[in-house]
Structure formats: structure tokens, C-alpha cells
Amino acid sequence: MSSSHGGYYLPDPSGWPIIGSIGIFTLALGFMLFLNDVSTGPILMLVGAGVVIFMMFGWFGTVIRESEGGLYNDHVGLSFRMGMMWFIFSEVMFFAAFFGALFYTRQLAVPWLAETDLLWPGFEGGWPTAGPKGPMPIQADTPTADPAQFSTIGPWGIPLLNTAILLFSSVTVTIAHHAIKANQRGTLIFWLAFTVVLGFIFLYFQAYEYAHAYGELGLTLGTGVYGATFFMLTGFHGAHVTIGVIILTVVLLRCMKGHFSPENHFAFEAGAWYWHFVDTVWVGLFIFVYVL
């Protein structure tokens, strides 16, 4: 261990990063082979994912040990917080690309296609649409067995419910945060667990909705730009909720083990921030993907 005289903790050489690199390389290689129908692909993907998970356990485990061992001071904590903040900002920009695609196709590309009579006679545009060659949209939430038709998911059913669930979970995680600061461990664990449960419920509904879309509504990833933007936005959001739930679950377990103090609970805060970010994105999705 080396630490500067200024008290800023500087870690020793570490093997975890290179293990992480090997992991993501294997994962990516496997994914690429899988996409190109090479049979070893999925196996490599599993191995890669395993290595990445191993790395996370190892790396975060080291960080937790160092933290619980009192090696970090506020200065180090601040670095972590800033790092997390800007990481979340980069995630926001990732979603921005997909929101941008939604706005662009909806406001520009589809109307232009509708004007292009010479190439696409009879295409009216409008939203939702699967483009001039895709299936036709019908009334929202109406099951369809006709492959030439699809319908969309109306906003006021499950999506509204899911909005309520996520917004409520933002409140519960904030209550938990107040509890951690007031050193009320029981309250903390209760509200944090509650948050995790809400996250799971959200995911359950989301999965149910996807099954409904694929099974009955004729709405799939391949349903033109509507399907593409719908599933990519909600899908990446769902993936982030999953990550968020995992983070919060780990934090919950750590709370139960007695980690964290009213002053020092970076992992909790990072998880909570991430959770708020996921919520905010959802509100954007609810408005721009479902309602409008």
C-alpha cells in the first residue's frame, strides 16, 4: 500500500483491470461470433461474462475492503462521487443518441418519406408507422393476428402504472438515504428493500408488456422505425433498471452486513443516483415514447 503524505490513498498495482479487459474482449468476441452464426460464440460470451463478473467481485471487493479498512478519506470519496456523476452523464448522452433517433425519424424522416410519392406511392406517414414497406398500424392495444398489421401499447395502462412505480421508488430510496444519514439501520433496510422490490415489479411488468407486444400486438424489433425506436429505448432502459436493481441489491446486502456509516456511504449514494437517473430517463420515455 502506498499513500501520499497528503493522505490521498493511492492503490497498489492491481490485476483486476487486465482481467476486466480480457473479460470484455472475450465477451465482445463471442458476441461477434454469435452474430455471425459461429457456434463457439455463445460459449465465449458466457466465459467473457463470467470473467467480467469475477472481475467486478474482485475489484469492488478490494475497494470495499479498503474502504471498510479506513484507508479512504473524504478527498478520495469526493473523487468517487465526481467519477460517478460524470459516468451517469455519459449514460445520459448514450440515451440522447436514441432519443435523437426517435425525434429525427418522427419529425423529419417519416414526413419526408410521405412526401416522396415517386418512390413510395400511397405512403401517408404519421406516427406510429413501420414505414412504407412495413405493417400498418391499427388502434393501440388491439391484438392482431394479421402480419400486415401491428398495434402499439397505450400509455395509460401498464406504462402509467410503471411510471408510478418508478417515481415512488425514487421516493423510497430517498427515504432510505435519510435513514442512512440518521443512522437508523432498520428503517434504511426496510425502505431500500422496498425500492428493490419496486424495481423488480417494474421489470416484471416490462417483461409482461414485451411478451404482449410480441405475442399479440404484432409489435417487434423489426416493426419499422416505430418498433426499432420503441424497443431500443425501452430495452436499454430496462437493461439499466436491471443494473440499477443489482446495484441496489448489493448495497442492501452490504447494509445488512453493517457496512456504511452516516458520513461514509458512497456506494449507497452512487446506487441512489443511478436509480434517479434511471427514473428520469423513464419519465422521458413515458412522455415521448408512450404518450406523445
Binding site: W112, L113, T116, L118, L119, W120
Partner: protein
């Protein structure tokens, strides 16, 4: 006047760049945009000359100061360093002056741009479609359409014979346009993005699959004008030239009339029964359009373009073969040829593929068979 100005700026570049004397004789190739033959071309050339001149002046002024300083304010000459480190007044001045210069450049640019985008009131409309790797021209008001392919022989490209004057800038059928007439182009593409460019006309516009872009020109002088595809569109992007043959309005009308007759003759030929030999002969000719990918001997390009020689499709059922050729394969470079080739041509090329390169399906496909599938 325009010419002399462009010569002037060319000369200035020559002087501003001290290493340029190493250039061998600069005799007959351009140092500037080629002489335009359309009004927009003229405007763009003078705009270009103007901004180039401004840029050169800025360059010379700024670096005169710097090189003077390098000459005079050097330690070896014993110059002592001053210690000033800012001057708000100066900094404001050299923010405002460039800004004013920029406004001066933006005004003529805006005016030209607005005129470029005005495609109203055109007399002739041509739809241009980019394909890998050829252009297709359709005279929308006259029912004439044809493809325009590179006509430079392979031997020249592969250095087996001497290169002609218009090496890589020649096609089998140029786009014929009238002079002194406002011509509107509707540009699109069928597979990937291409870009249609003729420098002398100052027209460059991308053909975007699924969308139509509009641009116009007005050619002032009869002549042959040559350009190229300027958007990377795959393997033979460098081999899809644009050639415009501008004729006087009268000659253009005569050309139109002749072509309409030819189109009618083609249509009646399609009704006839064709012999195997005729099909093979015509097919060989048409196959030129396929050879870019599938190779002159049907050998293809390994892992990129499948060979025709021995292909299961080209030796299997005719229906499947016709399906591939007419409708293409989505998401691959294999395009739908039914929009580009006539019934006769498709019948001929399919027959040819089935009976060449060692393939011996033996059957002759008739234009009527193709017509039935449309």
C-alpha cells in the same frame, strides 16, 4: 475577368508556398476549379476566388508579423524579452475584425445558396438513380430511361494497354441534356448512397436510397462534361463516372425523337421468341453489369461476392434464379434488377449465366417468362 482573377489567386498560392517550385512544369492541369458552364458555377467560382483571396491575405498578414518577430526578436541577436502578457483592447480588436470579415463572406454565400436551392420552373426533369456501380437516367416527361456504365476497358485499368484520353471518365451512354434550358434533377439511389457530380456544372448531390434530392442546372455551352460519383459506395466507387452530353435544344429534341422510336422497337422485340444464340450474345453484353461483382469469368470475389460459375442458383431451377436477379437479396449488394433491365435483357443475362463459365443448365429463358413474373 473571372479567368484572370482565378489565375491571379492561383499565382498567389504559388508564391505563398515557397516549396512549390519543386512542382514540375505546371502546364496544362488546373490549379483551380475548372471553368464553369452554368450560372451557379460562375457564382461559386467567384465566391471561391473571393474567399481564397481573403484567406490568403489573412495568412500573409498574420504570418508577416510572426516571421518578422522570428527574424527580429531572437536571442541570438541579443533581443531582450518584454514581459507584457495581455491587452484587452487588442484582444477585442482581433475578435471583432475576423467577425466582420466572416459576415462579409456570409452575405454572398447566402445569396448563392438560396439560388442553388430554387428548383422551381424547370423545363426538363431527369430522375437520376445511383446503383452499385452505374447511373440510371429517366426522362420523366418523355418515357425514356437507360443505364450509364463505365466504358473504359478492363485492359486499360489493369495496365495491359495504353490509357485513353478520357480514362475512367467515359461511359457507354452519356446523359444528354439541352443547353440554355433549366433542367431539374431528381436524385436518388437504390442500394447505398452515391453522389452525382459534374464539376463544370457545379452540381453535386447525394443520392440517398428511399429519398429524393432535387437540384438544377442551366448549361450555357454545348459540350461533353465529365464527373464522377463522389460518395464512397463500395468496391467500384472509383469506377462510376458521370458524363453529360449537352446539345442545343434542337439537337436535343432530335435525340429525344430518335430514342422514343428505339424504345418502341425494343418493346416489340420483347414479344418475339428468341433463339438460344441471340440470347447468349445479348446476355454476354448485359453481363458486363454483373461482372463488376461476379467477375468477368463468373468467379466472384471470395467471401464478398459469390461466384456464378457453379452456383447452385445459376444451375438450379430457373424460377429461383429469376427471383434473385429480379428482386435482389435484401441487405446485400445484390440489387433488384427488374427496375433496371428490360424483360429481354433479364432473359438474356439469366440464360447467359446458366450456360457459361462451365454452367450448363441448357435452358433458354424467354422475355415472356420474365414479363409473367413482373
Amino acid at each position: 475577368m473571372l479567368m484572370s482573377r482565378s489565375k491571379l489567386s492561383a499565382a498567389i498560392i504559388g508564391l505563398a508556398v515557397p516549396w512549390l517550385p519543386v512542382v514540375p512544369a505546371m502546364a496544362d492541369y488546373g490549379l483551380n476549379l475548372p471553368p464553369p458552364v452554368s450560372p451557379i458555377g460562375d457564382e461559386i467560382l467567384s465566391l471561391h476566388n473571393l474567399i481564397m483571396l481573403i484567406c490568403l491575405i489573412i495568412f500573409v498578414v498574420v504570418f508577416s508579423f510572426m516571421f518578422y518577430s522570428i527574424y527580429a526578436h531572437r536571442k541570438s541577436k541579443g533581443h531582450k524579452a518584454a514581459q507584457f502578457s495581455h491587452s484587452t483592447r487588442l484582444e477585442i480588436v482581433w475578435s471583432v475584425i475576423p467577425f466582420v470579415i466572416l459576415v462579409g463572406m456570409a452575405i454572398p454565400s447566402t445569396a448563392t445558396l438560396i439560388r442553388m436551392e430554387d428548383t422551381s420552373q424547370a423545363d426538363v426533369t431527369v430522375k437520376i438513380t445511383g446503383y452499385q456501380w452505374k447511373w440510371r437516367y429517366e426522362y420523366l416527361d418523355h418515357g425514356i430511361a437507360f443505364n450509364s456504365n463505365l466504358s473504359t476497358p478492363r485492359d486499360q485499368i489493369e495496365n495491359r494497354s495504353a490509357k485513353g484520353d478520357n480514362y475512367l471518365l467515359e461511359v457507354d451512354r452519356p446523359l444528354v441534356l439541352p443547353t440554355d434550358t433549366k433542367v431539374r434533377f431528381l436524385i436518388t439511389a437504390n442500394d447505398v448512397i452515391h453522389s452525382w457530380w459534374v464539376p463544370e456544372l457545379a452540381v453535386k448531390k447525394d443520392g440517398i436510397p428511399g429519398f429524393i434530392n432535387e437540384i438544377w442546372t442551366l448549361i450555357k455551352k454545348p459540350g461533353i462534361y465529365r464527373g464522377q460519383c463522389t460518395e464512397l459506395c463500395g468496391k467500384d466507387h472509383g469506377f462510376m463516372p458521370v458524363v453529360v452530353d449537352a446539345r442545343s435544344p434542337e439537337d436535343f429534341q432530335a435525340w429525344l425523337a430518335a430514342n422514343k422510336q428505339e424504345a418502341a422497337a425494343d418493346a416489340s422485340a420483347a414479344m418475339a421468341e428468341w433463339s438460344m444464340d441471340d440470347l447468349m450474345a445479348k446476355g454476354k453484353e448485359i453481363y458486363g453489369a454483373c461482372a463488376a461483382c461476379h467477375g468477368a469469368q463468373g468467379e466472384g470475389v471470395p467471401n464478398v461476392f459469390p461466384p456464378i460459375a457453379g452456383s447452385a442458383v445459376a444451375t438450379g431451377p430457373v424460377a429461383q434464379h429469376l427471383e434473385v436477379v429480379m428482386n435482389g437479396r435484401d441487405g446485400t449488394a445484390m440489387q433488384a434488377f427488374k427496375g433496371q433491365l428490360s424483360d429481354t435483357e433479364i432473359a438474356a443475362v439469366v440464360t447467359y449465366q446458366r450456360n457459361s463459365f462451365g454452367n450448363s443448365a441448357g435452358d433458354a429463358v424467354q422475355p415472356a417468362d420474365v414479363k409473367a413474373l413482373r
